[in-house]
Symmetry: C3
Subunit: 296 residues, 3 copies
């Protein structure tokens, strides 16, 4: 993922909707085993995903077959806090990247997931109160204790990324950002340029734009669907999902898409995107469909 960083599978299985899937631990174990068997070994979690937490549900499944842990790269996050209990009506969710909060968050993740370490810890959002020195201290402590092997960020702007990186000995291993044919501001706002410059691969969240591409009725969505359907035919792809994933993976910073489905058939179908190769004209055709105008 970055110089000296971890290796990820070509896709990451995301678990932010796990609580909605209604799987028993045995069903979840089967799901995990199947995507691992298909080569998707990296999984994405966060303490704030789901109720009950996706980490708890995932940990319960892993308990049924602890040998599975060593075949996984587990990514989790830190830094978003729910409104404090008893905080009153006006209390808000907030960010906390203090050393204590980061370490406590990792310990919470490990207690829910089981196992003794996270492969990668991401700072979930850039805390406007982020003391970069303090985050660096937390990373050093977590690395020394063996609780976390690698560190990255999520949704960081270029200046936030540069600031935190300036305090670290090792490169941040990723910046997990939104990339899809509806929202790809990171293509032009410097975020992906910075990552390519540092040879750091982004993780891409919301690759299918939360389903909006499939159902939206705006002119943009109608254009996108029509163009995706044409590209699907031209490429001989099985689905427009595959076309979208291929479109994202062809970006020169080599984003790693996060899959959000709990349907194993849909998950494994995504792998078909690895065999697709959009021509540059095809890639830009989708860009044009999204923007509604040609390239400058």
């Amino acid at each position: 993922m970055s110089p000296g960083g971890p290796e990820f599978s070509p896709f990451v299985q995301g678990y932010w909707r796990l609580a909605e899937w209604g799987m028993s631990s045995a069903e979840l174990l089967s799901f995990i085993s199947q995507h691992v068997a298909h080569g998707i070994t990296t999984v994405d979690h966060a303490p704030v995903y789901g109720d009950p937490s996706c980490e708890s549900l995932f940990g319960a499944a892993l308990k049924l077959d602890p040998s599975l842990r060593n075949r996984l790269e587990i990514v989790s996050k830190c830094g978003i806090e729910n409104p404090p209990e008893g905080g009153g009506a006006g209390a808000v969710a907030y960010y906390d990247s203090s050393k204590g909060a980061i370490i406590a968050s990792v310990e919470g993740s490990l207690s829910r997931l089981g196992g003794d370490h996270l492969d990668v810890l991401l700072v979930h959002r850039c805390d406007f109160l982020m003391q970069a020195d303090e985050v660096a201290e937390a990373f050093v402590a977590l690395k020394a204790s063996g609780k976390v092997r690698h560190f990255g960020v999520s949704n960081f702007s270029p200046s936030q990324f540069s600031l935190l990186q300036s305090r670290l000995d090792a490169p941040l291993v990723t910046n997990q950002v939104e990339i899809n044919p509806v929202n790809f501001g990171v293509v032009s706002d410097g975020t992906l340029d910075q990552l390519q410059e540092g040879r750091v691969r982004p993780m891409a969240w919301s690759c299918l734009a939360g389903g909006e591409i499939f159902q939206g009725q705006s002119a943009q969505m109608i254009r996108l669907r029509a163009t995706l359907e044409v590209l699907r035919e031209e490429l001989g792809a099985e689905s427009i999902d595959q076309v979208i994933f291929a479109w994202i993976m062809q970006m020169p910073s080599h984003p790693v898409p996060i899959l959000g489905s709990g349907n194993i058939a849909r998950v494994t179908a995504a792998l078909g995107a690895l065999d697709l190769n959009l021509s540059r004209e095809q890639w830009y055709r989708l860009w044009v469909a999204s923007k509604g105008h040609g390239v400058p």
Copy 2:
């Protein structure tokens, strides 16, 4: 304020409205002596503030007790020029950061303020005609002559700051920027990230948003006042001014607020902010009140 830079008091007394205060020199001397006695020893001026100039009025007061000068850190600025006399109806105010203009500006400030040096000189606004090499030459000459001890900027974007810094041997000691709960674009546009990365502290102007927070009738102002009032109670603060100053000072680049009042009671009351400590949830509650939505 920065590596190798000067030390400032926790607050800076701003004098841009001095001409409006209607103080005699003796009254002003008393005002200065009082805030110095309370530990506010750094003062902020600019050649373009006031008519008559705040520098002239301040200099006249200092003449009554020259010993006071050595207890002060005097910040002044350069680079904004009024429309030239006889310039005709269309003549405009403009920026000038030529070597000659910078040196002449400092000499003018010293003649008005008295004394033989400024502690800090700031380039007031980034001149779009700024020849960074020429500014650097002016700084070198002013340092060599003893007329200015440290150099910084005001209202510079990150790229402007980086450009000027690239020509200097010593770090710029500050970037004086607007920070208040209404306008805090510098929190997210990279300005404060860059300063934290370089361990440079901003000076914060317009901390109370020109009073808009106290009187404004927009939905945003009403939300802000209500939240500030709740926070004031929770924190046991004496005023919402104190809450605002504490909110600004807790930013991780450690901004130094500039006070704008000529009322010594209000000035010294601001010092109470030093004893306040907003929780992260409280800090973000004011962020949410300003934005009108929760954190992403």
Copy 3:
């Protein structure tokens, strides 16, 4: 133009509209000879300019007097591709900065222009699929083969410029960007700051805003024309063109304007701008006329 880079004439003759000028090869040869005789020795082309291509027409004229080539610095570009033939109704123009496309583009330019080298090759637009390593490989190969002497870019954002520069041994020699009194976003968005920091001079395209300044009826255009006319009188300039070119050349990154006219009288008249010197107040007066408000 940059440390170790080529020297350009004070103006660049642009040929993007050459096909519209209706010149025979002999007439074009005469035009070229005349602007060269006036010291304008740098010419700007691109494979995508004109139908027939400006490169073909220019090459045909040079064939009539091959000795002229050595008195010219020829700039051309690469990276924009027309919709593929037979690409169907939906096919789009796109960017291609693959190694093969860059080398093929240069070979096409050389076959049209004649001669064995380009003095400068610019990447015309930043390809969102730009693999910076691959562009660098293409540059190395083109330099080694003697086909291109220097490399630069056009319309690159600061992060795109920084990314590509990070893979190159020599500084990019220019960033060709739009600069005129209507559109000068590069003055404030960091583009020109970055160039000044690296001591790289921009080339300025569309200096006269495509003629909009002369004919536009918006409030902004009316203000601009009125102010330009006043400045023309104050400066004793022959035309407002001259005032505009002088305004652009006084920017501290030292932009080199590209001329777009095929009228030799108008081309040589532009040279009068080299003798104009706007005061800073005059420079900002045009800024104010464009913005519709004074400097902050």
